[in-house]
């Protein structure tokens, strides 16, 4: 038979457990708006039953009498598979975002289609040659031509410089992220610390939910920077491979290794930045294609301008193209007569020719690539959003749900208290009112 106080103990367990469950609910509500937080759940479990020995009940068999409830664990609700998907998409998004930003700057450098773009300036350059052809004797027209040509070459140089700067910016950003005290190092060192704390807690049999949330959040951030893969080393500590190298390894003394040289295609934002800064990246590719336009212009004009070069023959890139002709040396005709305009006429005829076409094709290519990048970014963004929604669906805090839980546990607490009162009244009957016959 059980003790008269057995029921009191059962009720006490009920009170304590419901209270603890209320605390967990309170923690969830408090963190309803915390980024990276996974909702927690108190796992309630009946405690070990009291074994009623055999022969003590009518059937002669023994029985197990329930002894109440306890919190078996406080677990974090999260779907690791969604984390994997989320990180894969974060990597694409990091790549697409860096690419879109850079291409946006490249488009800005070209400033087309406007009245100040290179296309409009080329048009003005041909206009100036036509004006010279209309008035070959006029020094004013030739001086205007030289000024127009100088403005044109200055524009070539400005765009070339901007493209160089855009590639350099990508390199600078890469260096800042991967450098000493950069994002990668900060995250890695925090992850190493978390690994230790989580390992210790798990060793003590605890579930360090909030530390794990923080670790997941940091790995999400790493995933945006480069390809990440996570391996559990068996004690809830993680080895994290990052961009082709092992970044965090619990078996090393410091827990992480940085700086390291990433693989050739690290993926993510860093992969995109490496490519954007490289000679085969868009900025420098378009710069060399702009060089092609400059080369074509210099060749086309100088071939017709036979007396002395109009453009500096040494400057055949967008950065070095320069006008050497002056109002006095501009050649208008092939002979010496002042009214001859065949050379000016022939150069004006270059309008709409290979130089203009090369440049237009270049602008169209930039537009196409930039448009594709914007689309890729928007796709990656919506995929990340969709997966984040599913993650939130699993791990996010629903206030309605927590309010319901609040009522549930409050009622549980109240009912446990009522049970205790009932048992107390039983004891009161036994202790104070029993054996008082005749008193």
């Amino acid at each position: 038979m059980t003790s008269a106080f057995f029921g009191l103990q059962t009720s006490l367990r009920g009170l304590l457990t419901q209270q603890q469950a209320l605390d967990v609910t309170g923690h969830n509500i408090a963190n309803a708006n915390t980024a990276g937080y996974s909702r927690q759940e108190a796992v309630l479990e009946p405690t070990r039953p009291y074994i009623v020995p055999s022969n003590s009940v009518n059937t002669g068999a023994g029985a197990q009498l329930g002894s109440g409830v306890d919190v078996a664990a406080i677990r974090r609700i999260r779907d690791q598979f969604l984390d994997l998907q989320y990180r894969a998409q974060q990597m694409s998004l990091g790549d697409a975002t860096a690419r879109t930003g850079s291409l946006d700057n490249i488009e800005g450098a070209f400033a087309e289609p406007t009245d100040d773009g290179l296309a409009a300036q080329l048009s003005r350059f041909w206009d100036a040659w036509s004006d010279v052809a209309n008035a070959p004797e006029n020094v004013g027209a030739r001086a205007a031509l030289v000024t127009t040509a100088q403005t044109l070459t200055a524009s070539f140089r400005t765009i070339s410089d901007q493209l160089t700067a855009i590639a350099q910016q990508a390199q600078d950003e890469y260096d800042a992220i991967t450098g000493t005290s950069g994002d990668v190092e900060n995250i890695a060192s925090e992850l190493a610390g978390l690994n230790r704390a989580i390992g210790d807690a798990v060793f003590r049999g605890q579930e360090p939910n909030d530390l794990m949330d923080r670790r997941d959040q940091l790995v999400d951030r790493l995933a945006q920077l480069a390809q990440v893969s996570v391996t559990d080393t068996g004690d809830s500590r993680w080895r994290i491979d990052f961009g082709g190298v092992t970044l965090v390894d619990p078996s090393t003394p410091t827990g992480y290794t940085w700086p390291q040289t990433l693989g050739r295609t690290p993926g993510g934002k860093l992969g995109a930045l490496l490519e954007l800064a490289s000679a085969s990246g868009p900025a420098l590719t378009y710069r060399s294609q702009l060089d092609g336009v400059a080369t074509d212009l210099v060749r086309a004009v100088n071939t017709l301008h036979t007396s002395t070069p109009f453009f500096d023959t040494a400057g055949t890139t967008a950065a070095t193209i320069a006008v050497v002709a002056t109002a006095a040396t501009v050649q208008t005709g092939s002979g010496t007569a002042s009214g001859e305009n065949d050379v000016a006429q022939a150069i004006a005829r270059l309008r709409g020719g290979s130089t203009d076409q090369l440049y237009q094709a270049l602008v169209a290519r930039i537009g196409t690539e930039s448009q594709a990048a914007v689309r890729a970014q928007s796709t990656a963004q919506s995929l990340v959003d969709a997966i984040e929604d599913r993650r939130q669906s699993v791990a996010g805090v629903s206030l309605d749900e927590e309010m319901t839980n609040l009522i549930r546990f409050q009622r549980g607490y109240q009912a446990s208290a009522r049970t205790m009162t009932t048992i107390d009244e039983l004891l009161d009957t036994l202790v104070n009112r029993t054996g008082r016959v005749g008193l």
Partner: protein, 304 residues
């Protein structure tokens, strides 16, 4: 099981939708205020390259129009001068017919000869006419007077051709060859106008029967031949003026077409954009209203 919807999820979704709506509104607002539907190449890469090509074409058409105007001015100057020359030749012919009559006395004939000499000088003066400081009848030697007044009768210009570009790969010569009319005077004995006039003047001053016969015979024939040459040059100049007028009209037409095409490619369709803007604005307001309601209500409102 239906999807579990959490608090953060609905607020995130609301915020995302509001952001997207605002982004669409901002894009349309940009189109409305700039009047352009292409503000950067990625808005429409193909449209951008079309716009660049059309802008280039339009710039070219403007320039060709300027060239045509310049060429028309030049040819008009030529035509006026040639008209004056025509009048001069009329007067010469009058004098020649009078001088060929036996009724004219030596004094009268000498006066006629003086007038012929003056008329020859005025022909040279017309040949020295300038357009914008350039001698129009000197070939490409536009800084040289073709027949300097008071000088010899020899042509000082060259045989060069001056052209104006009036269309893509189309160039029209705008100068007339006055040398084939006026020639190089008596020393060259080329039977051209200046030579003829000097001969007529000599024949008027001369008193031999041969002089009188020449006045009535060969001089008149040579003069008439020169009149034909002059008429030919005037007709040619007139035809080229007409061609420029036609080119000008065609260039204006092409410019109108190119402007319209460019506007189709580059400009925002205001009616459509405004309609779209209004629609987006309504959608955005609805999203705001709905968002305000969704995010605000929770079980808390109903528990006491």
């Amino acid at each position: 099981m239906s999807m579990r919807v959490t608090t953060l999820m609905s607020s995130r979704a609301t915020l995302r939708d509001l952001n997207e709506g605002l982004g669409r509104l901002a894009r349309l607002q940009g189109q409305l205020s700039s009047g352009k539907q292409i503000t950067r190449p990625s808005d429409d890469p193909y449209g951008t390259s079309r716009a660049l090509a059309l802008r280039g074409e339009l710039g070219g058409l403007d320039q060709f129009q300027r060239n045509v105007n310049d060429g028309t001015g030049w040819l008009n100057t030529c035509d006026t001068a040639l008209g004056q020359m025509s009048d001069v030749l009329g007067r010469v012919r009058e004098l020649l017919v009078q001088g060929g009559n036996d009724t004219a006395g030596p004094a009268e004939r000498s006066a006629m000869a003086d007038e012929i000499d003056q008329l020859a000088e005025s022909l040279k003066q017309e040949a020295d006419v300038q357009y914008g400081g350039r001698y129009v009848f000197a070939g490409t030697a536009t800084d040289t007077a073709p027949y300097p007044l008071g000088g010899v009768d020899r042509y000082q210009g060259d045989a060069g051709t001056i052209t104006r570009a009036i269309g893509p790969q189309v160039e029209l010569p705008i100068n007339a060859d006055i040398h084939q009319l006026l020639g190089d005077g008596q020393p060259a004995a080329d039977d051209l106008l200046l030579n003829t006039l000097r001969d007529i003047s000599d024949h008027l001053r001369g008193s031999t029967p041969a002089d009188a016969a020449a006045l009535r015979g060969t001089d008149l024939q040579r003069l008439d031949a020169s009149v034909d040459v002059l008429n030919g040059i005037r007709a040619d100049v007139g035809a080229r003026t007409n061609r420029l007028a036609v080119a000008s009209a065609r260039l204006s037409g092409l410019a109108v077409d190119a402007t319209r095409l460019l506007s189709d490619v580059e400009d925002a369709d205001m009616a459509q954009t405004i309609t779209e803007y209004t629609t987006q604005q309504a959608a955005y307001s609805a999203a705001l209203k709905a968002g305000a309601n969704i995010v605000q209500s929770s079980l808390l409102d109903f528990l006491h």
